[in-house]
Amino acid sequence: MKSGEPGALVTTLEKALTWGRSNSIWPLTMGLACCAIEMMGTQASQLDISRFGSEIFRNSPRQSDLMIVAGTVTKKMAPRLKRLYDEMPFPKYVIAMGVCVIQGGPYVHGYSVVLGVDRVVPVDVYVPGCPPTPEALTYGIMTLQKKIRGETDR
């Protein structure tokens, strides 16, 4: 076949959809604490998150597919977080960023901290660290993309 001639690409609709979906995950700005600054760092020039199709941080839950919960979730914030999650359209994903979000972190003995955001909303990918580096968050997003495409990690 000469170049420039129309060709054909055979795939399933499922594969095409998940490929498109995995490469345009728009996150919701859910910066709660320290990890939010590293999340902003991931978005900034050093490690450009837009290489993975997640460049646009939406401020409205109705326009976003992914909720990166970055920072400690307190008992006062948890109902608001749940409400924002409920407002997001399907299909929706959650990344738990940082140990505070995973299980309470350094504040695990405190009285006002929710011990893991998975008690409030379902979580797809956990990114440990306090705070995780931007590289770690990028890896978390790549892991989520694999999950959306139905590939296994190993």
């Binding site: 910066g31 590293e38 902003m40 900034a44 020039s45 006062k76 705070p131």
Partner: protein
């Protein structure tokens, strides 16, 4: 009888710099009354400090003002070392000054980037974070962590600064002033930025003092008060620097004061790198095996100048291995309270600009 519209700002809003909720009463577009609602990030750090050893409490201080963790650490150690009767060696004081000023630069850069975002400017955000990453590279080299450093410890620092790290800092100081002026030009060369900030949110000297405002916000209102000069700690009395003061009191003045502070920080760093003496980097009395056996007695209040203002730590000890009570006087909590005064009778769009100019960090407000 006049009707007001009540609107709700936050806690999930891009301009609240974290998790602040504002209840605003509007008359058309004019803000008549706002009421900040805080506590969405209350992590009970003060209470947890009572349950942990003196050395381990640094973890909670790192995460208070999380963009300037070195400043928080040295603020806590000012008080804790007095309580525990441990005097750090001379070299440690100089290392702490260097780290403090680097942290101050990083903190102000985050503020400048976020302030730009609030006013609809995306470009300075990338410039500021690129420069901030260079500071964080130094931190990574020195302690292995980017943001929450946990570098300082009681009686010293975690590890000595090697000639390689000094070279790294010097290379940063070489390139940074040029980049800073570039960032400054992006802001000041923009007419929209000037007209949205000049004369907006004017805080008079009296209001600033009445509300207990400190830091760059106070200095922008014409009060020459900086803890580094008024009550020198570490080795700030051996360094030559100036405290920028503006008499305008508006958003633009606060912006200019912060940028001048960054220039002064570079000035301090250049002197400190040259003057740093040789010696041990920790007090042998506070070696690692002794850390959890350190006992303190009495009470002490230490004040330091963080990037946001006067950061005070009050520790009460009862002779045990853990403090009896730790209280933090956080500057942003006081600075936030003045917002309801500044935003009165301003436009709703200007309220966002005023809120941005305060430099809020919620880890510190709610603690």
């Amino acid at each position: 009888m006049q009707d007001f519209i009540e609107i709700n700002f936050g806690p999930q809003h891009p301009s609240t710099h974290g998790v602040l909720r504002l209840k605003a009463k509007l008359d058309g577009e004019i803000v008549k009354e706002i009421e900040p609602v805080i506590g969405y990030l209350h992590r009970n750090a003060e209470k947890l400090c009572e349950m942990t050893f003196y050395a381990d409490n640094l973890v909670y201080f790192d995460r208070m003002d999380y963009v300037a963790s070195m400043l928080m650490e040295s603020g806590y150690l000012e008080a804790a070392e007095k309580i525990l009767n441990i005097v750090p060696p001379e070299r440690v004081l100089w290392i702490r000054v260097i780290m403090n000023e680097l942290s101050r630069i990083a903190s102000h850069l985050v503020w400048a980037g976020a302030f730009g975002l609030d006013l609809g400017m995306l470009t300075p955000f990338f410039y500021c974070f690129a420069e901030r990453d260079k500071v964080l590279e130094v931190f990574t080299e020195i302690c292995g962590s980017r943001q929450e450093t946990n570098y300082m410890s009681i009686g010293g620092v975690y590890q000595d600064i090697t000639p390689g790290i000094v070279d790294h800092i010097e290379a940063f100081l070489e390139s940074f002033p040029k980049r800073l002026e570039e960032i400054y030009k992006i802001f000041v060369g923009n007419d929209v930025f000037i007209s949205r900030n000049k004369g907006i949110g004017v805080m008079s000297r009296e209001v600033a003092i009445d509300y207990g405002v400190t830091g760059p916000m106070l200095r922008a209102s014409g009060v020459n008060y900086d803890v580094r000069k008024a009550e020198p700690y570490l080795v700030y009395d051996k360094l030559n620097f100036e405290v920028p003061v503006s008499y305008k009191g508006d958003n633009l003045a606060r912006f200019l004061v912060r940028f001048e502070e960054m220039r002064q920080s570079v000035h301090i760093l250049k002197q400190a790198i040259r003057k740093i003496p040789d010696g041990p980097f920790f007090n042998p009395k506070a070696k690692k095996s002794m850390m959890i056996r350190l006992r303190g007695d009495g009470e002490y209040y230490a004040r330091t100048e963080s990037s946001k203002g006067e950061f005070g730590v009050y520790i009460v000890a009862d002779g045990g291995v853990k403090p009896y009570r730790v209280h933090v006087r956080s500057p942003t909590f006081k600075n936030l309270s003045v917002v309801q005064e500044l935003a009165k009778d301003q436009m709703i769009a200007d309220m966002v600009a005023i809120l941005g100019s305060v430099d809020l960090v919620f880890g510190e407000v709610d603690r």
